[in-house]
Amino acid sequence: MGRADVSAPRRGRDPARERIAAAIVEMVADHGFLAIDIGAVCARAEVSRAHFNRCFVDLEDCFLAIHDEAIEELCGRVEGVSKGRENWHDRIWAAGVAAMRFLQEDSARARFLVVSVNGSGSGAQQRRDRVVERIADFLDGGRGEVEGERRTSRCTAEIAAGAVYNTIFSKIESGSIERGDEFLPELIYLATMPYLGQRAAEDELAVQPLR
């Protein structure tokens, strides 16, 4: 599928495009991608169809563009807080807290980003895979923490990333992302256990970082 030239409207602030973004996030989070259409999004955003067509090729293009932008914002925050921290363990914690804050800020956006990707087409699936890949890239830095003769591979990071993503998915889907204070230590445990070992990773479970 082609992409609309969305760069032009984004050079300056485009309030109509921002309203489209807000509308599609809320509508997809509430009803799912397959249940909405361009007309409904335009009506919710109070923009003309012509303006929508200037911004996006079609509804899937709109979904993917807004999804990409939100993921970049999330990644920017995570990279911002973890950059400059030399210790891998500290980076994991900083990233975990920043990501949790981002997801808790806006429950519709969290659902749009993580849960609604299911059932939104192959492009959305590729986005999901890319997010898991980026989490795996981040975790893969833990290979330097492994002591002794144990080996870890890229698969280690990918499985751990999938476990973390799946846990976040379940929490958002069940509407309990606001209880991130309780389960962030579990996520850190899952992320670090393959590298730090069971005993060291279990120490994470006693941490209460957000309270």
């Binding site: 895979d129 591979s153 476990a163 846990t167 393959p194 070992g197």
Partner: protein, 228 residues
């Protein structure tokens, strides 16, 4: 300790192609005809979804591939989703039963986990089209189908939960450990199938076993068990 080899190997293809009935007055019992039609429709759906993906598949595609009328389709299924779920459940139930059977052949819990994972990977590697149908299409479809897919993973979650007594750590394992581990396993399997490497899935077994056992028996022991 192993009781012996797994009781049964996965069957060659859970959804066997059904022979097409001869046209005209064939004199076959109605019950047989109805069952035959249903199987043809389900088999056709598997073929069409493998070619086009679930979201792009239409009822017309399925009826054409099955050589049945639209009316016959709706005599068996309410809609495309119901037809997909019938196919999905047939395959998912087969995989789940095979995994349970493989696990039950061993008394030792780590061996049970290894046998269950090996059985799943072997089936998916041997049936790339069914691998897509059961692991990728439910997520692309979303809604009820995706929910059913997540529920079907519960069998593996239960096998893993049986390992909790093996855990010797100071803190109890987090409640969501098993679901998270299964999520990690499924995520990696999906990635491999999406990348066109379904036939090579069995090479993931050592890594999957190691990561799955580690929270229960410790990383060092998990690595030893995985590489045996």
């Amino acid at each position: 300790m192993a009781k012996g080899n797994a009781k049964k190997e996965p069957e060659e293809g859970a959804v066997a192609a059904s022979p097409r009935l001869p046209a005209g007055r064939h004199g076959l019992p109605r019950e047989f005809v109805v069952q035959n039609q249903r199987e043809r429709i389900v088999t056709a759906l598997v073929d069409v979804v493998a070619e086009r993906g679930y979201n792009a598949t239409t009822v017309a595609n399925i009826t054409k591939a099955a050589s049945v009328s639209r009316r016959t389709f709706y005599e068996h299924f309410d809609d495309k989703e119901a037809c997909f779920l019938a196919a999905y459940e047939m395959v998912a139930d087969h995989i789940a039963a095979s995994m349970r059977g493989a696990a039950e052949a061993f008394e030792d819990w780590p061996q049970q986990v290894r046998a269950a994972l090996a059985t799943m990977l072997r089936f998916l590697a041997g049936e790339p089209e069914l691998a897509r149908l059961t692991m990728i299409e439910p997520i692309a479809a979303g809604g009820e189908i995706a929910a059913r897919h997540r529920a079907s993973m519960q069998g593996l979650v239960e096998i893993l939960k049986a390992g909790r007594p093996e855990h010797g750590g100071e803190h109890p394992l987090p409640e969501a450990t098993e679901e998270a581990l299964v999520g990690g396993i499924v995520s990696l399997v999906i990635r491999e199938i999406s990348a066109g490497r379904a036939e090579q899935l069995e090479r993931l077994l050592p890594d999957l076993v190691e990561l799955t056992l580690a929270p229960y028996v410790g990383a060092e022991e998990a690595e030893r068990l995985a590489r045996v």
